[in-house]
């Protein structure tokens, strides 16, 4: 029983990590209808940039110059700045020219963007594995281990708290601020939003910047867990089943979906894995999401697609 509880808890916490990535997807899909495949690579890019600033790496040369090393708070701020700059560039150079294109074209654009960012990240900061040390707590929580015999990683608890804060901030941002209202208006109807004087270009830059910052948070959490390396960009593939399970355009969906996938995956790995030869974590989440989709084709919380002739 204890083992089962431990499995579920570690599943829940792993699910939170997936949700962090899925949130970035949802933000962009909600506001611009773009299915942003580059979200995982954005997390990688943000992580690489942060690690570069922390260690004082000189871009393009991959040489470390300790004089340039920044303290963590400054490095994070600088990375946020880079992500905002990136969002503005994407809007200026790409999105602006792709208005009114079909969704599949926009999706392909993000695949191209993923390639660019991946190459650029490696060119700028080098492709070796980087350790990200921001002083986040890690290791088992002693208190839980002593009192209840449960093994829970502190870092994952921190990630859960960060995710909760992030969702709260995003909810307030979407519901209470002027920009948030404008974002929801754009998501509802581009033309109507334009006609009441909302600038699509500004909104898109803001959304991509927000997604970039969420990517940075995901990059920090995943980077602290397993180092910053190429495989970080593959977490996008982990977040996709979470997305379709929760619904592309729902922030709560991303969280609930993440939790379901996280728990399902861990439980299946422990109790089902041995019977089919293990290593099922690559596809199990997708099959689980597929099963949910067959009942609810728009995910658990997704907006119902109404089809008319």
């Amino acid at each position: 029983m204890l083992f089962f509880v431990e499995t579920v808890i570690s599943g829940l916490l792993a699910g939170v990590m997936y949700s962090l990535v899925a949130l970035g997807f949802v933000l962009i899909f909600k506001a611009s209808g773009v299915f942003n495949f580059a979200q995982g690579v954005m997390a990688l890019f943000a992580g690489l940039t942060l690690a570069g600033f922390l260690s004082g790496t000189v871009p393009f040369t991959h040489q470390i110059n300790p004089a340039l090393a920044m303290p963590p708070w400054l490095a994070i701020l600088a990375t946020v700045g880079v992500m905002i700059l990136l969002a503005i560039l994407i809007e200026r150079l790409v999105l602006r020219h792709l208005i009114n294109q079909e969704p599949i074209i926009l999706f392909m654009m993000t695949l191209g963007l993923a390639y660019v960012l991946e190459g650029a990240g490696d060119l700028l900061w080098g492709s070796d594995v980087k350790v990200l040390d921001l002083g986040l707590p890690s290791g088992a929580s002693d208190w839980l281990l002593d009192n209840y015999g449960l093994y829970v990683d502190k870092l994952e608890v921190v990630a859960a708290v960060v995710a909760a804060v992030l969702v709260a901030v995003l909810a307030i941002f979407f519901q209470r601020t002027r920009i948030g209202r404008a974002l929801r208006a754009v998501a509802d109807d581009h033309q109507a939003a334009l006609s009441v004087g909302i600038s699509l270009n500004t909104i898109w830059a803001i959304v991509w910047a927000a997604a970039g910052i969420v990517a940075l948070v995901a990059g920090i959490m995943w980077g602290a867990k397993s180092g910053i390396q190429f495989s970080l960009s593959l977490i996008a593939l982990k977040a996709l089943p979470v997305l379709i399970l929760g619904g592309f355009d729902s922030v709560p969906g991303a969280i609930v979906g993440g939790l379901i996938i996280g728990v399902g995956e861990k439980v299946a790995e422990v109790y089902l894995g041995p019977f089919v030869g293990g290593a099922i974590e690559n596809w199990f989440a997708y099959m689980l999401a597929l099963a949910f989709l067959l009942v609810r084709p728009e995910g658990l919380f997704g907006e119902k697609i109404i089809r008319r002739v």
Binding site: L98, G119, G277, L290
Partner: protein, 358 residues
């Protein structure tokens, strides 16, 4: 001046329905095919066959398969590579179980097996749509690759996890392994691709193709007009997987000679094929091949210019290649979202009027 259709009168329905109604087009295509069949085999080198011609033919066929599903029927799929894997593994298994079987029959059977698998994974498309379906096809991608690793019987219990093509002949000519002549491999692949491409061209202008396009343009309206979505979507999945499966079988037997689950049939390959149809042009047979040619040639050209001519280090060039590739894709989408096939069409229209401006 040369490209005029003046004076070409169509006197029968057959002439009116021809694939290439303009005589110059017809002669051009016949000329290209004659060149490919009769001239190229004489100066083919192993490098040319393995780096350019065979990859082009294999990926052209795979892109054609994906184009039937995505370009004609509007169902976005991200599992192409896994279906190529199904074709490869079933061709391997068939060749091991029935060593006497003719290679072409092996290809066709591998295609049929892939078609069956594809239709099973196509079933959710009746209920799930758009990007939800695209992500759902990733389930096929990951599940099948996992199966390639875990199901020993598929690999004939080989310990390395690889499959290696057994020696096989076609009409008395060795076709696989190191003793095969590149020209023979090339000719077999070319013949398969030519016949299948002709079949696809006819399929998409016929009853099936029309029902696929109706589903793509608006499925509710198509249903109201009496097109059965079940039949249309599943046939698109089946035909598309057949082509992709044959491409996978040819990739394994003729081109690579050995393959391993996720390495050869990973998600990167799926994306590559998807890029091909986007750059080539969605919903065109010609575009599939143009896109394949572009993406097979581009890395070679990039590598040659960056490493050999500009003297960059291999690692740096590799990273820069990613950036260039991404920029090219985005640039293409911005400048010509309908792909190379559309450029070809524009060129033909201009040629028709040339040298007069109107």
């Amino acid at each position: 001046m040369l490209y005029r259709e003046v004076g070409q009168f169509k006197t029968s329905y057959a002439a009116d329905q021809a694939i290439f109604p303009i005589a110059q087009d017809r002669w051009f295509v016949i000329g290209v095919l004659l060149f490919a069949f009769l001239v190229v085999p004489f100066f083919i080198t192993p490098y040319m066959a393995n780096a350019i011609l065979l990859p082009f033919l294999v990926f052209g066929l795979a892109a054609l398969g994906l184009n039937i599903l995505t370009g004609y029927c509007g169902q976005l799929s991200l599992g192409t590579a896994a279906f190529m894997g199904v074709g490869a593994y079933s061709s391997f298994k068939l060749m091991v179980l029935f060593p006497e079987l003719n290679l072409v029959i092996v290809f066709l059977l591998a295609g049929l097996i892939t078609a069956a698998v594809g239709m099973v994974f196509g079933l959710p498309s009746l209920r799930i749509k758009g990007f939800y379906l695209a992500v759902a096809t990733l389930a096929a991608q990951f599940f099948l690759v996992w199966l390639f690793y875990k199901w020993d019987w598929l690999r004939d219990y080989s310990l390395t996890g690889q499959i290696t093509v057994p020696p096989s002949d076609f009409l008395g000519v060795p076709m696989t392994g190191s003793r095969a002549d590149p020209a023979a491999k090339y000719l077999l692949a070319l013949a398969m691709v030519t016949v299948l491409a002709l079949g696809a061209k006819n399929l998409v202008r016929g009853r099936f193709g029309r029902s696929w396009m109706a589903i793509r343009d608006m499925d509710v309206a198509a249903e109201l007009m009496g097109i059965r979505p079940l039949a249309a979507k599943l046939s698109a999945f089946g035909v598309s997987s057949f082509y992709v499966g044959v491409a996978g079988a040819m990739m394994f037997t003729l081109w690579l000679g050995a393959a391993e689950g996720g390495d050869s049939f990973g998600i990167q390959t799926s994306f590559l094929v998807l890029f091909m149809i986007i750059i080539g042009g969605l919903g065109t047979v010609l575009g599939s091949f143009l896109g394949a040619a572009f993406l097979v040639l581009m890395p070679i050209v990039l590598k040659n210019t960056m490493v050999d001519m500009l003297g960059m280090t291999t690692v740096f060039a590799k990273h820069l290649e990613y950036v260039v590739m991404g920029v090219l894709i985005i640039g293409f989408l911005i400048l010509e979202p309908h792909g190379l096939a559309r450029l070809w069409q524009i060129a033909k229209e201009k040629l028709r009027l040339w040298p007069f401006p109107y």
